[in-house]
């Protein structure tokens, strides 16, 4: 008996079209497909499941023998594992996923530390310590019968699907009533610059829940580690911030680093007026004129530099667009405008260091280039009108000649 199962398993692993092979030799399906609903029944759903596709069968998780024909016989077989309870699921999956030697045979690149990490997560701690069965376990996020790698589009953990997956519980106010956390994260994320990039522009490089919170070890990033989390992508901003006077000031006051100004789930596209010494600038939330830090003066100076360059960039872009619309060749100016844009990004970024003079020097370089673009665009517009005037003049000359010639012809024919 056992030999046959082992053989079957081997066969399944070896064959590429394994799903079909196991389905045929899988007696479970013979009955389960009959009485289970075609839309929701596990025996119908599993065709998309990565485990089935890799050649595993029902019995590899649930135990019992796929060759047994009687259901009672299945339940009575010594290795029958049945359906795990919510509390049992992590160990149920970890039987294989926690075994480095087993996973090595099937997918060597997959880590085997998920359960270890899960135990450290808020979810795992509540489940194992508090026996709280409302928290997420493996199948809450991965599903039970249509499990897929995060790279497959239908997977519940694919970047585009992940936020709704977390939101299944975290956006359900009733379900989350026992916990003292908000339920608007998904709604906020959706409106954030990251959410828009991912969900609207389908930019898979944009971060989603697990990129900041982790997945199996899910927990909110700590106040101190925040600049590292954000700094994963926003490296220069983090570096500049950490070298700035804000770093120690925030630490002393227990302010979360990036979040204090940029918020967390609802991170909006930063705007230049966030910086400055008056409304709606955020600086005035902590700083006052006479607080002895000189913060507001620096903020005002940096804001002025950024705004000057931003305005110059907009003007340069508008004037260049005007030239492009007129159909002139503008490749060189487009390059220059791109340089201005890069310098504008660098200027805005430099404000995190809180040093007005460095912000000013970068902004000045950009301002010079923006002016070059404007001057050259104006020259191109002049050229455009010069062409038209030249044409007008030439047409006038030719027309005069045509009329004179016509008069001459009429006269000699008289």
């Amino acid at each position: 008996m056992k030999n046959i199962r082992l053989l079957l398993l081997l066969l399944g692993v070896l064959t590429t079209s394994a799903a079909l092979t196991t389905a045929e030799d899988n007696n479970c399906l013979t009955c389960h497909q009959d009485f289970e609903d075609e839309e929701t029944g596990p025996s119908h759903l599993i065709v998309r499941d990565i485990h089935i596709q890799k050649g595993l069968g029902c019995a590899d998780c649930h135990g019992g023998g796929p060759s047994l024909e009687d259901m009672d016989e299945v339940r009575e077989s010594p290795d029958w594992r049945g359906v795990p309870s919510h509390l049992e699921v992590p160990d149920f999956c970890a039987r294989c996923h926690g075994s480095a030697s087993y996973m090595h045979e099937h997918n060597p690149s997959l880590p085997t530390d998920q359960l270890t990490k899960y135990r450290t997560s808020i979810h795992g701690q509540r489940l194992f310590v508090n026996k709280d069965t409302k928290v997420a376990n493996c199948i809450s996020c991965h599903g039970a019968y249509q499990i897929g790698s995060a790279r497959t589009p239908h997977s519940t953990t694919h970047p585009l699907n992940l936020a709704p997956t977390c939101a299944n519980c975290h956006a359900d106010a009733e379900y989350m009533a026992d916990y003292d956390i908000p339920t608007d994260q998904f709604e906020k994320y959706r409106q954030s610059v990251h959410g828009k990039a991912l969900l609207e522009r389908k930019d898979l490089g944009a971060p989603v829940c697990n990129d900041c919170h982790g997945n199996h070890g899910a927990a909110p990033p700590g106040v101190a580690s925040l600049s590292f989390v954000c700094g994963n992508c926003h490296a220069i901003e983090a570096e500049l911030f950490n070298a700035s006077p804000h770093r120690t000031a925030f630490e002393e006051n227990d302010f979360p680093m990036c979040e204090t100004c940029h918020s967390n789930h609802l991170i909006e596209q930063p705007f230049d007026k966030m910086l400055g010494a008056e409304e709606p600038a955020l600086c005035i939330n902590c700083h006052a004129e006479d607080d002895g830090t000189g913060g507001l003066a620096t903020a005002a100076a940096m804001s002025q530099a950024v705004e000057k360059l931003a305005t110059a960039y907009d003007d340069a872009r508008t004037s260049l667009e005007d030239v492009i619309a007129k159909g002139m060749m503008t490749t060189d100016e487009e390059f220059r405008l791109k340089e201005v844009q890069q310098l504008l990004v660098a200027t805005r970024r430099q404000t995190h260091a809180l040093a007005a003079d460095t912000v000013d020097s970068i902004a000045e370089a950009g301002y010079q280039k923006a002016n070059e673009v404007r001057t050259n665009s104006a020259a191109l517009v002049d050229e455009y009108y010069f062409r038209r005037k030249g044409l007008g003049l030439a047409t006038l000359f030719i027309t005069i000649l045509v009329v004179a010639l016509w008069v001459y012809i009429r006269r000699i024919e008289k």
């Binding site: 930019d203 898979l204 490089g205 944009a206 700094g231 994963n232 992508c233 926003h234 490296a235 220069i236 490749t331 060189d332 487009e334 390059f335 791109k338 844009q341 890069q342 990004v345 970024r349 030249g390 003049l393 030439a394 000359f397 030719i398 005069i400 000649l401 004179a404 010639l405 008069v407 001459y408 006269r411």
Partner: protein
Amino acid sequence: MSENKPSRRGFLNIILGGGALATLGSILYPVVRYIVPPAAGEARLSQLKLPFARPDIEADPKKAKYFKYGRELGIIFLTENGELKALTATCTHLDCTVQHRPDLGIIWCSCHNGRYGLDGQNISGPPPKPLTVFAINEVDGTIFVSREEA
């Protein structure tokens, strides 16, 4: 009527002659301007001759320089073992310009910490695609770059 005929004829001749001259002028003016060679001298070819040489790249603190190739921006840089390499310089994620990081041995986009290998492969961070490689040809100290044929 017959008295002012000669003067009318003279007037017409002036208009005819003047019109012909002005027309000729409007044709010749652009032609002469066209023949006068432009400042750039000759067309830049798809094999682009860079206006700087290896010592200029060596002297750069980041061991790299940028160049314009048609409508694209390119970056040419010196690797640790003295090899020149050139890639497109616009990050494939959004629109930032990448830079050479000799300290890390990578091409780096500062906007979202996107990392590329020195052969342009996207290694980590948001970039979805590798950078495109330019072929380099160094002749007597002059560097030429061109698009590598597939």
